[in-house]
Symmetry: C2
Subunit: 348 residues, 2 copies
């Protein structure tokens, strides 16, 4: 049997009512801080509840109209792409922190793609499992905001851009465009004219935003040797692309990688080809992590506080659940942490 010897019955409001000598309704009023009971009764009920170790049954609460006291988070990534970067765990940890204060649970699911993700939302909604969701990795043509809106499921999009706003959904985003511009600024100042951006998955909103910004910056300055190449974020693709571009006739003098893993793999690939970092080629990683600190040369990286990102998103969702209006909030622009992988462009 799964349940053990003394299955330690959970106390219910009925138990409290009996012990406190009042009706169940009175207990409900007392415990939920609403009028209808005297202060003295309220105190007594509270005391009994505490001493009995009572906690409201979420199931019962959910059933009688209150929410499910749970928010959902689904990650649509092929399983093997998972866990290469530390971003998500940090994010979830931050989300968690805020939710826990309000005794909200976090229902977590990993799926293969956005289609499955939509199915999960449908299921959660129909099963009455969550009160709201956090949506990660917004795409350029994203079916999720529409669906969530249709279901009336409060949601906040993490990493979306403000123009992609969908009525009813909140958005928390980092200014990728600004960050990209400042990185290009910095590299340009160091004399770099040929820059390759080893981007992440095509179709992700932030990938496209970075690519657009890079192109715009290049045009503004009349640079021609600037391009973006999309990848799947893996170390192997990162290395492969690096090899390819460095072997070209006019190899770039600076590389911008959309995550830490590719950056490290890229440095290794460059080194193998006889390019030294940063003498021959500078490298910037978009995500900072222990990884960037550990390797030699240390990688200059765009650092952001993923935990804070998560906390902000969670707070927005709470606001939405409390009936607040949908908002768009921006978290601080990622900050470039300079290490040894960037330097002046070699004269050509």
């Amino acid at each position: 049997m799964a349940a053990k010897r003394s299955p330690a019955r959970r106390p219910t409001m009925k138990d409290i009512a009996r012990r406190a000598g009042v009706s169940e309704s009175a207990v409900s009023f007392a415990l939920n801080g609403r009028p209808g009971v005297s202060e003295v009764t309220r105190d007594r009920v509270r005391r009994v509840a505490e001493q009995l170790g009572w906690r409201p049954s979420t199931a019962a609460r959910a059933l009688s109209g209150e929410g499910a006291a749970t928010v959902g988070f689904v990650l649509a990534r092929p399983a093997d792409t998972l866990g290469v970067d530390s971003f998500f765990l940090q994010l979830v940890s931050g989300i968690q922190e805020v939710l826990a204060e309000r005794h909200l649970g976090l229902l977590f699911q990993v799926v293969e793609d956005v289609t499955d993700e939509c199915a999960v939302y449908r299921g959660w909604w129909a099963e009455h499992r969550v009160d709201g969701v956090l949506v990660a990795d917004p795409r350029t043509a994203d079916p999720r905001p529409g669906l969530l809106d249709e279901l009336g499921l409060p949601a906040v999009v993490i990493g979306g851009a403000p123009d992609e706003r969908h009525p009813g959904l909140s958005t928390v985003w980092a200014d990728d465009a600004g960050a990209m511009a400042s990185v290009v600024d910095g590299l340009y100042a160091l004399g770099h004219r040929r820059i390759v951006h080893i981007a992440g998955l095509p179709g992700l909103a932030h990938t496209e935003r970075r690519i657009r910004t890079l192109r715009a910056e290049a045009e503004r300055r009349g640079l021609t040797g600037v391009e973006s190449v999309t990848t799947d974020y893996s170390d192997t693709e990162g290395a492969a692309v690096t090899r390819r571009v460095l072997r070209s006739a006019a190899p770039p003098t600076a590389l911008i990688y959309d995550n830490d893993v590719m950056a490290v793999a890229g440095v290794a690939a460059a080194t193998e080809l006889g390019f030294s970092v940063p003498a021959d080629v500078s490298v910037v990683a978009w995500e900072d992590s222990a990884l960037c600190r550990i390797v030699t040369p240390g990688l200059s990286a765009l650092s952001r506080d993923s935990g804070e990102f998560g906390r902000t998103a969670a707070r927005e969702l709470l606001a939405l659940l409390d009936g607040g209006p949908a908002r768009t909030v921006r978290v601080p622009v990622p900050r470039l942490v300079e290490r040894e992988s960037t330097g002046a462009a070699r004269e050509r």
Copy 2:
């Protein structure tokens, strides 16, 4: 208002009953595959349910005795230690995969320490939120199994050793001892006699097991220059310990790190001190990851399938929930992937 324009009412069994022209009970019987309805009615009901897009309300189910259709997983780690290794996301992803097949949700929480973790279990239990839990990072004096047993909450311990069995709890574990023994075997064969093990957090069951085994192996062979040093898994501590031991009078010729991050940091530290890897000192990382492949020299690492680990654990929990007996199952011994960081000990 949180809910939007057409809050798209969820269909209930009552709706199905009406449409199918039967009672609610008949619907329940039909949908749950239990006797009491004819096959033709069952089919009709099923069809109606499907076409209405009906899904059982977990709240209602939970309330009427069924489980909450959810299992819990809490990670007790200081927030900053999170996300350094990819192990957990992989693990969770594996767990997830198995649970999803059965439409079970995964409630996830991150806390600071084991005390908080116990509080979370208490809360989940009292709130009727989960049917069972997965317990990670078992410790040497662990309050959790006792608590879970007391609450009668089905649980499987991930990474526990069989001898620490607690009645009622299942255990899924990897044979750390065997792995350690084989690593030492290998290093010994390469001529290594002074080996230092840069271990993880003291108090974790698997840390202690590895330490014990290393000591036993050393004694068996009469080696004296063998020791374990515990750390907090961070790159900084890993580097610090590496520097300390390499500066000693008789520095080790082989280092075993309990995770990938420390191993990489250790290699960097060793290189700084003028030790070349693997010529002067061999390095083995306990956890394999992209990280170990990327860096140069590539790190020899103990590789295990974390996803499979998670799947196995989840399957055990399901078995427990189905009323099966508590079991202890072993996942395959981690396999040593040889890369460039290990080699013959230099003659002394």
